[in-house]
Symmetry: C2
Subunit: 385 residues, 2 copies
């Protein structure tokens, strides 16, 4: 097992009918800014319930945070936080709204040019004294509700923004608030959770048995409840299991003490940035190709994955690994998610463009051992055609 630090102070408030507890979770005298995305939290009444729970507090609203939240949009909210002396921000939405809110609170406390905050990556920004924030989650996918990371889009690129002070103070996870999600967003969320898990699991073995078992538990659960929660969105337990898995897939638990490989996310970000394909859908394209191209490096963990997640225990090892990759692809497709670039009309002629994007953002030594060069990324993208 590798050395690690694990720290996660977010208070999770999970279950049915928990929204009314916002009254206890937010300070009585706080001036609150509610951040949200499109109209769905209005249309389905979540925003009204949140405001009702906040009672007499002075509440301002900032809507319109888009999927893949844009720096320029978020800066408008930063102005409000500063000019209105906001005490508490409440993000109501999915990963984009929560990620955006993490950036808002950092930029609002930052005296310099906020664009600088995009350049610190996994090392974390130096912003301090962040305005505290909580979340009401409406989309299980990114895990942002229980971590301190965000991804912000700017000038055609995606930027990782982290800060140890940017954990939500609390996150209300009521699975019923997600029942009204469109099927495609639920499917994207299942894939996103699946890929978060395998990017911290399918690398090379370091004898981290607890972490492996937890990762496998998330994957097994997703396979068990994936189709069920798509077909029966109001099946509470199926959705509750998805929501809790999505949170645990990226709260630091399964990644503690193990190597990680974020190649699929990094290449996926380029595809989203250039072609506007949903984040989750890009992951389903890239991940199987990564495994095929990196089968040697990932042999031991792919074999473990085949055995423990897909119960493939007999026959030639390579054949088992191939079967596990095939089962993964079939699982994504059973959720209505395509798994090839060509399914989106993207041909070999676009690969140069994607490679240029990776180069521009310094993504030239990806993976658990830094050996996914631009040439390897080209192989991966070619495999994904």
């Amino acid at each position: 097992m590798l050395n690690f630090d694990y720290y996660n102070p977010t208070h999770i408030v999970f279950g049915k009918d928990r929204l009314s507890e916002l009254d206890q979770l937010v300070a009585k005298d706080a001036k609150v800014l509610i951040t949200y995305g499109g109209g769905s939290v209005k249309r389905f009444g979540t925003l009204d319930k949140v405001k009702a729970a906040l009672g007499d507090r002075e509440v301002l609203e900032f809507g319109g945070i888009e999927p893949n939240p844009q720096f320029t949009t978020l800066m408008k909210a930063v102005e409000i936080v500063k000019s209105e002396n906001i005490d508490f921000i409440l993000a109501v939405g999915g990963g984009s709204v929560i990620d955006g809110t993490k950036f808002i609170t950092q930029a609002a406390s930052w005296d310099g040019d906020a664009e600088e905050l995009l350049n610190f990556g996994f090392g974390g920004t130096p912003a301090t004294n962040l305005t505290p924030f909580g979340t009401v989650l409406t989309l299980p996918a990114t895990g942002s509700e229980m971590n301190m990371g965000a991804v912000v889009s700017h000038k055609g690129g995606k930027f990782v923004v982290m800060n140890m002070g940017a954990f939500p103070k609390f996150s209300v996870l009521d699975p019923e608030l997600t029942f009204t999600l469109p099927e495609t967003q639920v499917a994207n969320g299942i894939v996103d959770t699946f890929i978060h898990t395998v990017e911290q699991y399918i690398t090379f073995p370091v004898d981290a048995r607890f972490q492996d078992r937890v990762a496998e538990g998330i994957l097994q659960t997703l396979v068990e409840v994936g189709e069920q929660t798509l077909k029966n969105p109001e099946d509470y337990d199926a959705r509750a299991n998805l929501v809790w898995c999505a949170t645990n897939a990226l709260n630091g638990l399964i990644g503690a003490g193990v190597p990680q490989d974020w190649t699929t996310h990094m290449i996926g970000h380029e595809i989203t940035a250039m072609f506007g394909i949903d984040h989750g859908k890009t992951l389903a394209i890239v991940q199987p190709a990564v495994w095929k191209i990196r089968k040697t490096q990932k042999h031991a963990k792919l074999l473990q994955y085949a055995e423990r997640v897909w119960n493939l225990t007999e026959g030639d090892e390579d054949a088992r690994i191939d079967a596990a990759i095939k089962k993964t692809v079939n699982f994504f497709e059973s959720l209505g998610i395509k798994t090839k670039l060509s399914d989106y009309g993207i041909g070999a002629d676009k690969i140069d463009l994607l490679i240029e994007g990776l180069e521009l953002r310094g993504m030239t030594a990806l993976s658990e051992d830094g050996t996914v060069t631009l040439d390897v990324s080209r192989e991966i993208l070619t495999e994904a055609l």
Copy 2:
């Protein structure tokens, strides 16, 4: 899945050679009280390393916290915290030292009679403004290093003492610090971890798939590394897996959103209080008997346990459950832990005394559904003879 709150702000500092980081983890100007137990932390040099890492800080020591820490012992440390204006307490030891330190910090901040703090049980004490504390763990077993609960002994009874402010600020978990433990303490710790896990797992199903998989992952890991880490105490990875499992077995993760049954612990506490048998050893006596007597109520989860932890998938369901209980007993005995009261010379004539103790402490409606009355506890103890 049941509704739940999950909150755990302890910073885990895990791995080799982490003790020197105490210098960053404790405030530079803090006046520190180090709490510890017997002489082993002195004998094996851990205390010296801790003091070296604390550098120029003013450091006081309080040793002699015994296994099953006594109220009267702990109150002597409370006096020091108060009279010396201690800013930070550093517990160096296992569960007893850490539990004791949690009580010390609560009692030191409590204006009333400290004995009152023993009476709040799982509801939590009303003590506030606790002196912050951290831990350096030397014994993987109780999980106390990442939770806010303690058990304190007083006048022949054991009392649960909880407080939301009593999470350690940090816990340094260096598996190498546990290499010098006597074999029997390691074996006790393995059993303690195992029982913590099953008391949150083997109840009745509520479709909490993630929690079940994590619990099963801990149990599988303990079965895999148990004998190995006893026989080869300096096998780093085996010990690291035990340490991290012990922490995760009682940090709230596997118990979130599921029923819990602490019958085995409660009956075990009586056996320890009356006969002085190690905590872990009492659990290995009681748990198999609980399962045998409560086979009907726990049928579904015992069957799942048989299948997923012990790979018992064929034949009659009751036979599979019996086989799983037998395998559990064999596992404890493979660690050198006895599993019957009679192994300790305790006969049927002592059961009345134990039942009186349970009654005295109000343990008259135990288990996940409150139906383990004193009569059922008597059946369990008779089965355990």
